[in-house]
């Protein structure tokens, strides 16, 4: 079961071994399913490296057949503080 998914233009958008900023969709069941989160995270093409599974999709929704894994380091606001 994937915990998150992410839409990317190319696999280069998901470099391994460094903290990157991503917009991910939270796939946890319930009313808030598919809500976006902006996160700082580590990702890997090794599906078992990090605690949560990440599904990768390309710009037109195509599913990448390789499951990734992700560790969310922290959540960041999706709009600047002054709009909160």
């Amino acid at each position: 079961m994937f915990k998150y998914d992410v839409f990317i233009n190319s696999l280069a958008d998901l470099p391994e071994g460094k903290e990157i900023k991503l917009s991910v969709r939270d796939l946890s069941p319930g009313l808030q399913k598919y809500a976006y989160k902006h996160v700082m995270a580590m990702v890997s093409p090794d599906a078992d490296k990090y605690p949560e599974k990440l599904q990768v999709r390309f710009g037109r929704g195509q599913v990448h057949n390789q499951p990734y894994s992700i560790q969310v380091v922290k959540e960041v606001s999706i709009v600047p503080e002054r709009y909160l």
């Binding site: 839409f7 233009n9 917009s23 969709r25 319930g30 009313l31 808030q32 399913k33 598919y34 809500a35 976006y36 989160k37 999709r57 710009g59 037109r60 929704g61 195509q62 599913v63 999706i78 709009v79 600047p80 709009y83």
Partner: protein
């Protein structure tokens, strides 16, 4: 005509155009799949009374996806022909005084039956935003709706149907394209001034208001809806923004468009029948308030291969606004018909060809107008061809259009949605346009040069035609 979707739904039911689904339906793709199949098979509109995880909410799908439904929405006989419905649209909205909306009190406005402001106004907690297609970038709450905005300089109000995807409980995104009326005010005025633009999204408007919000008429949508309806639209003031919304709509979302924030939107299954415009950074809508009727009905339009209401109604109104435009220029057209099956890309114009290059003048006028970005193929036939009869049009097209001199190509404004464009063209919103001139050259001698049409009506003497018709059943044919 119907003051709200509920009266319209009753009228559809009476005409056999409604299917009521009482078993539970999942908002996550199942409702979308039902609506998709309905569109592809031109079936009745589904009213879904039980939605998973959202008790008390309902869906109304494919609200206007056939000409029968359109005729009902316009208060006409469901069996009216396309030209009959078209004539009523033209008659109600040409050279008539605008019918201005009226303001009603909040206690007369059903859309205020439930009011949520501030933190409570969380889209995903309150509303069953569906996943319309697999692969979509998010939950598209707003597919049959419109966005109300106001010009800060002159107070002009605009209603435009611009899709919105839920980003999180407080945020939506969508392509507010810069050549749309709402887009011009946002990109041209609020954004350069660094000011948030107030908006109100109206979900589940009455069918006439939805037609007005998706029609490219120069008449303000509020007044245009009143003209089509034959009486003023009732509006009520919003809770948190200085805007008015239809009092009888199902759901209202109020908020602000942020001038300096863009967020990813899409991909989405689009009206062209493809998922074309890739995910991109688009306009950010922040939510301040949500109000809705008791047992609210969320409308779902499912864009994809024909025929959905976007294709049908946009073809209808784009074609007829072109009709008005060409007549306003004194061009002797016989009519304009845009085919929904072409996903409003192909328009057929009939004209009395009284001077050379009249077809080019027609194409340049419509491509150069506000309507231009949304279509790219113009087929001009002469006044003897029935524009609503595709067999006749195809015959004229394939026999009268000279491949060397009858096809003209221009560069115009396009949209990121055209499936055939390259990525670079999409980004710049350029769009090639083509004219097929299916009229014979005027300088051909009608006696010696123009080929004679070989049809029952054109090649036999009248007495013989009459004789054959009189004997038709005697020969053994059914009349």
């Amino acid at each position: 005509m119907y003051k709200d979707n509920r009266e319209y739904i009753k009228a559809l039911e009476a005409a056999g155009e409604l299917v009521t689904i009482n078993q539970e339906v999942d908002w996550d793709m199942e409702a979308g799949a039902i609506v998709r199949k309905v569109c592809e098979e031109k079936l009745q509109s589904p009213l879904m009374n039980k939605i998973k995880e959202y008790p008390g909410h309902r869906y109304f799908g494919a609200p206007l996806s056939t000409y029968r439904k359109l005729a009902i929405a316009m208060g006409l006989d469901p069996n009216s022909s396309i030209p009959e419905i078209a004539n009523v649209y033209l008659e109600r909205t040409t050279n008539k005084a605008p019918v201005k909306p009226v303001l009603v009190d909040k206690d007369k406005a059903p859309c205020k039956e439930n009011i949520f402001i501030g933190d409570e106004a969380d889209i995903l907690n309150l509303l069953p935003a569906p996943i319309v297609h697999e692969g979509d970038g998010g939950r598209y709450l707003c597919t049959w709706h419109f966005i109300v905005t106001k010009d800060p300089d002159n107070g002009d109000v605009n209603w435009g149907m611009y899709r919105q995807m839920v980003y999180d409980g407080k945020t939506m995104t969508g392509p507010l394209l810069p050549f749309s009326d709402g887009g011009k005010v946002f990109h041209g005025k609020y954004k350069p001034a660094g000011k948030p633009m107030p908006f109100a999204t109206v979900i589940g408007p009455d069918p006439i208001s939805a037609i007005a919000a998706s029609a490219p008429s120069p008449i303000p949508e509020t007044d245009f809806a009143g003209m089509l309806m034959g009486k003023p639209i009732e509006l009520v003031k919003c809770e948190t923004v200085d805007l008015e919304v239809p009092a009888n709509a199902e759901i209202i979302i109020e908020g602000e468009i942020l001038p300096d924030v863009s967020l990813e939107e899409g991909p989405f299954g689009e009206y062209t029948g493809y998922r074309t415009s890739p995910r991109d950074m688009r306009t950010c809508y922040r939510v301040k308030a949500i109000t809705f009727r008791n047992d609210p009905i969320t409308t779902i339009s499912n864009m994809g291969v024909p025929t959905d209401e976007g294709q049908l109604l946009r073809s209808f109104s784009l074609g007829l606004e072109m009709d008005k435009l060409l007549r306003s220029q004194g061009i002797p057209i016989t009519g304009v018909f845009m085919m929904p099956e072409s996903t409003h890309h192909l328009v057929i114009v009939g004209v009395k060809p009284i001077y050379t290059n009249i077809a080019a003048q027609i194409a340049q006028t419509v491509f150069g107008s506000k309507l231009g970005p949304w279509f790219h193929m113009v087929v001009v036939v002469d006044d003897k061809c029935d524009i609503y009869n595709f067999n006749e049009v195809l015959h004229a097209w394939t026999t009268k259009c000279h491949p060397g001199t009858g096809i003209h190509i221009w560069q115009g404004v396009g949209t990121p949605l055209y499936p055939f464009l390259s990525a670079a063209e999409r980004i710049k919103s350029v769009g090639p346009k083509v004219l097929f001139d299916c009229t014979f050259p005027l300088d051909w001698d009608s006696f010696s040069e123009v080929p004679s049409l070989v049809s029952f009506k054109t090649v036999y003497p009248q007495e013989l035609q009459d004789k054959v018709l009189a004997n038709w059943e005697k020969y053994g044919f059914k009349s």
